[in-house]
């Protein structure tokens, strides 16, 4: 573990990634100082508007990165969007990893028909193109939540709202947040399969190792063998996938927002901000800033996670060792 950290910090690739992530973390924490919300703001995540003119305004002293359609301040959106991106990326990654780990390890440990059924289910979920499935599920969930009474699904949304936004699970979910949660739920539902497959493969190998057999021979229970002996050996591949996937999930959510299915209009979310640019395609040469700045934020954020994931894989996969260090 120490060795891994050392390798991560001496490798140009991962160092770039880690520094980028640190920078984003600082921006996220310092958001209230970097872009102070107006005094009467109800929700700091709603981007303040300077007037209601439709045409985007170029960067100026008052708005360093300009404003987008409807005079939403881009700097404010980019800064507070960092928080949104972290929340979405981290929560989705954690949820998918937990689901995938459970399904993969249960299947691998018990084998037989349980494994067969679980693997078929995994394959069925993989039979859908990811983005299409996410779009579909988001729009179905929005239809259901739009009715106001969603039964057990509402419980799920409250739980996720508690984890993501720290809101009180006893109260109704804020409609603005609910729309974001539908997108997240959709991505989670179709995002856990890689973990399940990788974990299953790993445990299949480790299960036959002597120490696992020995543990079973002295009568250690299933659950204990699984959690104490098998899972720790499968942690590293999960870390690699998690790092790579965080970027991918942020991209997918940004795509949902861009299509108008993710965050609500005016919410500090990078994908949603770029959504505004769709109405200005013929004059993009003049309004370049409405795509470039939020776009740059997404690219750098995703790049950071990919760089770390890539370096982790090089370090943790022994076959890749000695292949030069990163770039």
């Amino acid at each position: 573990m120490k060795k891994t950290m050392k390798r991560l910090l001496t490798n140009t690739t991962s160092l770039t990634g880690i520094l980028l992530l640190l920078a984003f973390t600082v921006i996220a924490i310092a958001a209230p100082w970097l872009a102070p919300p107006p005094e009467n703001a109800r929700d700091p995540y709603m981007i303040p508007r300077d007037g209601f003119r439709t045409e985007p305004a170029s960067p100026s002293a008052e708005h360093p990165l300009g404003t987008t359609e409807g005079q939403y301040d881009i700097l404010y959106g980019v800064v507070w969007g960092t928080r949104t991106a972290f929340r979405i990326g981290v929560v989705i990654t954690a949820c998918t990893a937990i689901i995938g780990l459970t399904i993969g390890s249960v299947g691998a440990y018990y084998g037989g028909w349980i494994d067969d059924v679980l693997m078929r289910i995994t394959e069925i979920f993989q039979a859908f193109p990811f983005l299409l499935a996410a779009i579909t599920l988001t729009s179905v969930l929005q239809t259901i939540y739009g009715r106001g009474e969603a039964g057990p699904l509402m419980f799920l949304a409250r739980l996720l709202a508690m984890v993501t936004f720290g809101s009180n699970p006893m109260k109704d979910v804020d409609p603005v947040q609910l729309q974001i949660l539908t997108g997240m739920l959709a991505i989670i539902a179709f995002g856990w399969m890689t973990y399940a497959r990788v974990i299953r493969g790993n445990i299949m190998v480790v299960r036959e190792e002597e120490y696992a057999l020995a543990a079973r021979a002295i009568g250690v229970g299933d659950f204990r063998i699984l959690t104490r002996h098998l899972l720790p050996n499968a942690v590293f591949p999960v870390l690699v996938i998690a790092s790579m996937n965080t970027g991918a999930y942020v991209l997918t959510f940004a795509a949902l927002s861009f299509l108008g299915l993710g965050a609500q209009r005016g919410y500090a979310d990078w994908g949603q901000m770029i959504n505004f640019a769709r109405n200005w395609i013929p004059s993009l040469a003049q309004h370049w800033h409405i795509v470039t700045y939020p776009g740059l934020a997404i690219v750098l954020f995703v790049l950071a996670w990919n760089l770390v994931g890539d370096a982790l894989r090089d370090i943790l996969d022994p076959r890749m060792r000695g292949n030069g260090n990163g770039f």
Partner: protein, 354 residues
């Protein structure tokens, strides 16, 4: 070999049935009222008449009964005509575009197919070429530049890339416009003298000997193709590179070189064919990438295909259309993956022994 294919074929129905069940599970979360567009084109707003429709098509029946009807169709008790039934190709009615979902798909599919076919060649060709270059120059400047290109490329969202190429090549330079055809060209295509054999505009234009239309269609395709392809370049580069690096370490290459073969021949004839085997397996993944990419690409470039239909329907919460498109594309994906697997079995003898 045969057992391998048979085993693949045996799993196929399980997956296909599973896919339909998952789609139906989503459908059954909708209200009977929302499900009515599965069977009738215009759902009446009046309370009384909708009750009749729900009754008529059994939209309050137990789930398994409804699933069966959704699969094979349900007989209208009044007229005796069978309506719905995905096995009969009836995916319900689209409220967004009006008309049966399958009809909309049939109208939109050629545009998407044209885009995909045109994108396939530069996408796969360039991806493999870059991967080989990167592996052959392992750890030298070319390799390092290409690796940066690949990881950065992987981090750019399709819509940002698409908007930036539009910004440069349409808004600034005015070279490549969005859409599918210019006004004059679409008038030519719609006119009586122009026969639409395939509904792929580029191909039809050639068959009708209208090179101006062909060029116009191509001009509209350049940017969407680039957008679709760049995503997969990054991916293919990576796969080709690592598999090529594996092969380059093999001893038979030393033999080939020691025979005095040219380095170019060693690479192209001895190493590449073996390195291409893993690339076939990612074929399925590329297909996925294409289908995901098409939604965003078509939306940005205002290109009237299946993907932009999905985006439009999803935005107006037209669940029936959205589920129809998703069902359709996941079936394509399942079949595509089967083809890839079988092909893989043919190419790589080691697989058959499993």
């Amino acid at each position: 070999m045969t057992t391998y294919i048979i085993r693949r074929l045996l799993i196929l129905p399980v997956i296909v049935v599973g896919v339909t069940m998952l789609i139906f599970a989503l459908l059954s979360m909708l209200t009977p009222y929302e499900r009515a567009s599965l069977y009738v084109s215009d759902v009446p707003k009046r309370q009384g008449s909708i009750e009749g429709i729900i009754e008529k098509y059994g939209l309050n029946d137990p789930v398994y009964v409804q699933y069966w009807h959704w699969m094979v169709g349900r007989k209208d008790p009044d007229t005796g005509e069978i309506r719905g039934g995905i096995l009969r190709g009836e995916l319900g009615f689209s409220q967004t575009l009006g008309g049966p979902v399958l009809e909309v798909l049939r109208r939109r599919l050629p545009a998407t197919a044209e885009l995909a076919v045109w994108a396939a060649v530069p996408m796969i060709g360039m991806g493999i070429l870059l991967g080989v270059l990167s592996a052959v120059h392992h750890n030298r400047l070319v390799d390092q530049i290409l690796r940066v290109f690949s990881i950065v490329g992987w981090s750019i969202p399709t819509f940002v890339f698409g908007l930036i190429v539009l910004m440069v090549f349409y808004a600034k330079l005015g070279w490549f416009p969005p859409g599918r055809l210019s006004n004059w060209a679409s008038q030519v295509v719609q006119a009586d003298g122009f026969r639409q054999y395939t509904h792929l505009h580029t191909l039809d234009a050639l068959l009708n000997v209208r090179f101006d239309v062909f060029l116009d269609a191509l001009r509209h395709l350049v940017l969407p193709i680039t957008t679709l392809a760049y995503l997969n370049w990054a991916y293919l580069l990576r796969v080709t590179r690592s598999s090529m690096l594996d092969v380059l370490r093999q001893e038979y290459l030393v033999t080939a070189r020691s025979k005095g073969l040219l380095e170019r021949i060693v690479i192209m004839r001895h190493a590449l064919p073996n390195a291409l085997i893993p690339i076939i397996t990612v074929g399925g993944l590329i297909l996925v990438g294409l289908m995901n990419g098409v939604v965003i690409t078509e939306t940005i470039f205002n290109y009237p295909g299946m993907g932009s239909f999905l985006a439009q329907a999803a935005l107006s919460l037209d669940a029936i259309s959205v589920l129809g498109v998703t069902l359709f594309s996941s079936l394509i994906l399942v079949l595509g993956n089967l083809v890839v697997d079988v092909f893989y079995g043919f190419v790589d003898p080691r697989i058959r022994l499993e």
